[in-house]
Symmetry: C2
Subunit: 328 residues, 2 copies
DNA sequence: CTGAAAGCGCTAACAA
DNA sequence: TTGTTAGCGCTTTCAG
């Protein structure tokens, strides 16, 4: 049913109907007439047609690498909360860790579909830059710090530094790192750099064989723990780039009689629910994921409303949460 | 930029441009002309305007109660996979466990916005029915079994029965259940019913104080474990409606010197990653979450394409996965 | 194969 | 306050 047909049923003009749905001038009498007809027919205006006129879709595109990750879920909940409140809807694109798809999705949303985009970026290629620079709608990048773009990110470097420092202060001298690929700047490079800074500051060196690159799963953490602990000299502390990886390391230790924290200390990042439930609970750094989502959505919507402005970068802090895995 | 303006730049007519983007008849020559202009200007047709003509948005609404849940994330990944493949986009609505918002969201999507809806339902009220019956686009309900609607669901009853049976076969005689609210039929009622059937079949009774109602978190599982184990007689087996709850129970036992499985057996449902990482790994039932998402999306799209048809119910099986928590 | 023109459902400027 | 009317950007007949 369209507006003309409905107007006929309600016994009013098209404009009256339009005004009814757009808070225009309308007499009580007509309002009642239309309300009754709505109840009867269930008519609602076509959002597409409305968008054609308004040039506004009230839709925000959110591009994520995967869904089954506690951190991403929490971020997305934050985003969704703000969007809901402000009357926007969330168009979710899951790239399934496929970086080409990230580009495709940006292309897809580039014109005429959404009023703004939040990109949970992993790696950042020249292609990303090319596409991002062509996009007409506002974009906020979440979880990475790319100069020249609107970003909301975490203090990955600081969190890694503090945790490593903590383990050194507790007596660790032969530290290992299970990180992720370095082209993921936030989770890969910055967390590794923070780890290294703490080492260097204390005059420690990263021994050969003590640096592993895992993916984001605990299975992978488990596998890399095996490699770490099968060398001749075992590390006495393992810094992991994420809690999931740390959980895998903890599991490996449990199964192989390596005592935590007596034989080896372990920590992760993210303060996930998991870190409280593993056989040895895991010392971690709390990152404000939901807040990041909220801030990113607010940053985006303010640009949607008031037009693009100079790029801002918002970096959120962290809190170290000590648990059993470093308790000595 | 709109089609007319672009057509002028490309040096062709509006219709030619339209045909270019809709695989119509077009000479090589014009195709080249338009392609060049697209590269230069970045023009892409407005999807909203297209929808007005086509009466098709290529958008599917997905309503979920929350994001930070492994099962929901896996389901949604399945949905997203199919939608992507078929050229549909995913409009995500997070109701944040607010059942009123579930209704509102259905109302919102009811007309003219999406081509179909997947509803991850929790409870089912008369209001749900009223709204669902008014909706014009196809709807698939995921995770619950409501006669008369298209549903994809799990064998909650069977899974609970098998797990309880397993514990009884291993010698449990005083069983407890930590479930969730009964108006969530799938997770609450059916899992409890499955549990009870196994008890009854073996001539066992549910002792007073051995039935707790938790929410879906491990914190809640932890709290209810305290109540369970502070009575005079301790159960020798605890069936939990979800893995998260079970993880909380396991944590409580660990902290209070209650040995699993020697003193008490524990199991959950969902075969989550968590169940493999807790201090005592948790026996669980694998539910095919991602498959459920895939099947639901396929079911929905087939109705979108071929029009609504008689309601179908697809129930997926389960597999019991034995781990340490029942290993005796 | 091509372009002109009508029309999708809606909004808003305009005249009443 | 109201109704009429001219678009919004696109697709698709229809006549060439």
């Amino acid at each position: 049913m369209n507006i003309s047909e409905f107007a006929k049923i309600a016994g009013v003009s098209k404009s009256a109907v339009s005004r009814y749905f757009n808070n225009g001038y309308l007499s009580e009498e007509k309002i009642a007439l239309i309300k009754a007809a709505v109840d009867k027919t269930g008519y609602a205006p076509s959002l597409s047609a409305r968008s054609v006129k308004n040039k506004v879709t009230k839709l925000v595109g959110v591009i994520i690498p995967k869904l089954s990750s506690e951190s991403i879920a929490r971020i997305t909940e934050g985003i969704s909360e703000v969007l809901n409140e402000q009357g926007y809807k969330l168009l979710l694109v899951n790239t399934a860790n496929d970086y080409n798809k990230e580009i495709d999705s940006l292309e897809l949303l580039r014109n005429n579909w959404v009023d703004g985009i939040i990109l949970m970026a992993s790696v950042f290629t020249k292609l990303h830059k090319t596409v991002l620079d062509k996009i007409r709608v506002p974009v906020v990048i979440l979880g990475q710090n790319y100069k020249g773009y609107n970003c909301v990110c975490h203090d990955d470097f600081g969190a890694a530094y503090s945790l490593t420092r903590l383990m050194i202060d507790k007596g660790a001298s032969d530290l290992a790192c299970v990180g992720v690929r370095m082209d993921d700047m936030a989770t890969g490079k910055f967390r590794f750099d923070g780890f290294m800074k703490a080492l260097n500051e204390s005059g420690l060196t990263l021994h050969r064989g003590n640096h592993e690159t895992a993916d984001f799963t605990s299975e992978s953490g488990y596998d890399h723990a095996r490699r770490l602990f099968s060398g001749k000299s075992r590390p006495d502390a393992v810094f992991c780039a994420t809690d999931s990886i740390a959980a895998g390391v903890v599991l490996y230790c449990k199964e192989n009689g390596i005592r935590i924290p007596q034989d080896v200390m372990v920590c992760g990042i993210g303060d996930s629910r998991l870190s409280r439930l593993t056989s040895t609970t895991i010392t971690s750094a709390h990152l404000h994921y939901k807040t990041a989502g909220i801030e990113a959505a607010n940053m985006l919507l303010s640009q949607v409303d008031r037009g693009k402005s100079a790029p801002r970068i918002l970096q959120l802090g962290y809190e170290v949460v000590e648990r059993e895995s470093t308790d000595r």
